[in-house]
């Protein structure tokens, strides 16, 4: 097994375990409560509107929006970490077939690993801070994943042409 393969497979397995552990924690301690809060705030908003208490209705709607913002990102992080982990493992198994020198394969693998960790991290950090930092992290992470995948596609194409 080459260095790039070890890097991809070990990182992929670690990321899969991390993603699943996060999913388990989230399902046990946060998801049901978040879903309840989301449903309750929207229902409260409509109920207060029916009672013509409009400031309270708008406040409840705001709570709904904030809770949903968090929920979408918390679920996205779980699925993206695990999805990317699987991609790392699959590519790791076959990476020695990529038509690049090993040192270039290591660079591509590193880009993919860093992107796979950083992109979902940026997404989940948006629930902590709505500033530019987390968004920039997510953009950099996804750009790393996209560039690495483009390089890998090129590597397969070069190998296929030989």
């Amino acid at each position: 097994m080459t260095r790039s393969q070890k890097l991809l497979i070990a990182s992929g397995l670690a990321l899969a375990i991390w993603g699943m552990a996060y999913g388990l924690y989230y399902a046990l301690f946060d998801e049901h409560q978040t879903l309840d809060r989301m449903g309750a705030s929207l229902a409260t908003s409509f109920a207060r509107a029916a009672e013509r208490k409009m400031p309270e209705a708008r406040a409840a709607l705001q709570t709904y929006a904030e809770t949903k913002f968090e929920y979408v990102r918390e679920v996205d992080v779980h699925s993206h970490w695990i999805g990317l982990a699987m991609l790392l493992i699959v590519l790791g198994v076959v990476f020695d077939h990529l038509a690049f020198e090993e040192r270039h394969r290591v660079v591509v693998a590193l880009g993919l690993v860093v992107g796979s960790i950083v992109f979902p991290l940026g997404v989940i950090l948006q629930t902590v801070s709505r500033g530019l930092g987390p968004q920039a992290l997510a953009v950099i992470g996804s750009a790393l994943v996209i560039l690495s995948l483009a390089a890998i596609t090129l590597g397969w194409a070069r190998r296929g042409a030989r």
Partner: protein, 374 residues
């Protein structure tokens, strides 16, 4: 001309080097993995045809009724309608989760099958880990499916029912099995340093494997590009649009401007549908890319003529493009696009079943050869 690794892979397969023996970890994981993916896809198609659209229509009706209840100042009526919406959402959400987890575990099973030569555990332990993984991979989606029906009956907890607890237990089994694989991999890496471990190449660089690998990587790349575009252009607009539309609904309904409120409810439904199809297109194209890449490794185990192997590969790749593209077009083309997307899903299921038959034929041949030797 075949490369060395190609020749090695073929040779190890023909001789049945033990890594694919009857009830071996790899065989369990490959057959279990393809089975889980095919079942998950069939479940997804049934869900899309018989539940998804009907459920969305019921949610729209309940939201419209809640909007009318605001106009009549019936706060209790509003809560009743929202309670119904909650049930419809749980109905849909648990079905989506069942479909997604079954397929994700199928992928993971194929992945674990691939890395078995690099997992330095004895075969008995590997088999235990594979069984543990498959039990968890079945328990979790089945339990998630039951959440809507079991609810909180006899539950010791306030918000989590028995089906959820069982689903979490299934997830725990999968995590333990993955940790076991990780330990095995770690031991392999350590032994390699000491020069003890050996592994055979897994990839047969045939036309079928190559087409699946290149096609799969391209699909994943396309999915990521589209996901990036969606996050940059649509995600925040959708989130903002949802709140604005809901605010319009409650304010127009409270002002007894029923027509305006009803129009906003329609707009809300369209926004939700637009969001759902865009996310589904992004998720499906990446999933099918991963599936194609995984199946590239399974090709040496598909005991069919090269012509048939190629046919299944082409059918799978066509379905992998058709389904996400036509899911994306559902908003503009309506049910026609939905129907074509379902056909795309069916193509993938047929290709998967075709490959599974090939794998089963391969296992049959290996077992028969083993029997003759004995």
């Amino acid at each position: 001309m075949a490369s060395n690794s190609e020749t090695l892979a073929h040779a190890s397969l023909r001789s049945g080097d033990g890594t694919f023996a009857a009830w071996s970890a790899r065989r369990l994981l490959i057959i279990g993995g393809i089975g889980l993916i095919a079942l998950g896809m069939i479940f997804g198609d049934i869900f899309a045809v018989f539940i998804l659209h009907q459920n969305a229509a019921r949610i729209s009706e309940a939201l419209l009724a809640a909007t009318h209840a605001i106009g009549t100042q019936d706060a209790h009526g509003v809560l009743d309608h929202f309670s119904a919406i909650g049930r419809f959402l749980e109905h849909r959400g648990t079905k989506v989760d069942t479909h997604a987890h079954m397929i994700a575990f199928g992928y993971l099973a194929l992945l674990l099958a691939l890395i078995q030569p690099y997992v330095a555990l004895d075969e008995r332990r590997k088999k235990q880990m594979a069984m543990l993984f498959l039990i968890g991979a079945i328990v979790l989606p089945v339990s998630v499916f039951l959440i809507y029906y079991v609810g909180l009956a006899y539950s010791p907890l306030e918000t989590i029912g028995w089906a959820s607890i069982l689903a979490d237990f299934g997830g725990l089994l999968v995590i333990i099995a993955c940790l076991g694989q990780f330990i095995g991999l770690w031991r392999y890496v350590r032994r390699r340093r000491l020069g003890e471990a050996r592994a055979t190449s897994l990839l047969e660089w045939s036309w079928s494997s190559r087409a699946l690998l290149v096609g799969g990587t391209l699909l994943v790349l396309l999915g990521f590009l589209y996901g990036g575009y969606y996050a940059a252009v649509d995600l925040y607009a959708h989130e903002e649009g949802e709140v604005t539309t809901l605010r319009t609904i409650i304010e127009r309904a409270a002002a007894n401007e029923t027509t305006e409120a009803e129009r906003a409810v329609d707009a809300y439904g369209l926004l939700q549908a637009d969001q759902a199809v865009k996310i589904a297109a992004h998720a499906h194209i990446i999933e099918f890319g991963l599936l194609a890449m995984l199946l590239a490794f399974v090709q040496p185990y598909v005991f069919l003529s090269e012509r048939w192997r190629r046919r299944w590969v082409v059918v799978l790749l066509i379905g992998s493009v058709v389904l996400p593209v036509f899911v994306f077009l559902e908003i503009e083309w309506g049910l026609v696009a939905g129907g074509i997307a379902d056909v795309g899903g069916l193509l993938i299921i047929i290709a998967l079943l075709g490959m599974l038959v090939g794998v089963l034929r391969h296992t049959g041949r290996l077992d028969a050869e083993g029997g003759e030797v004995r």
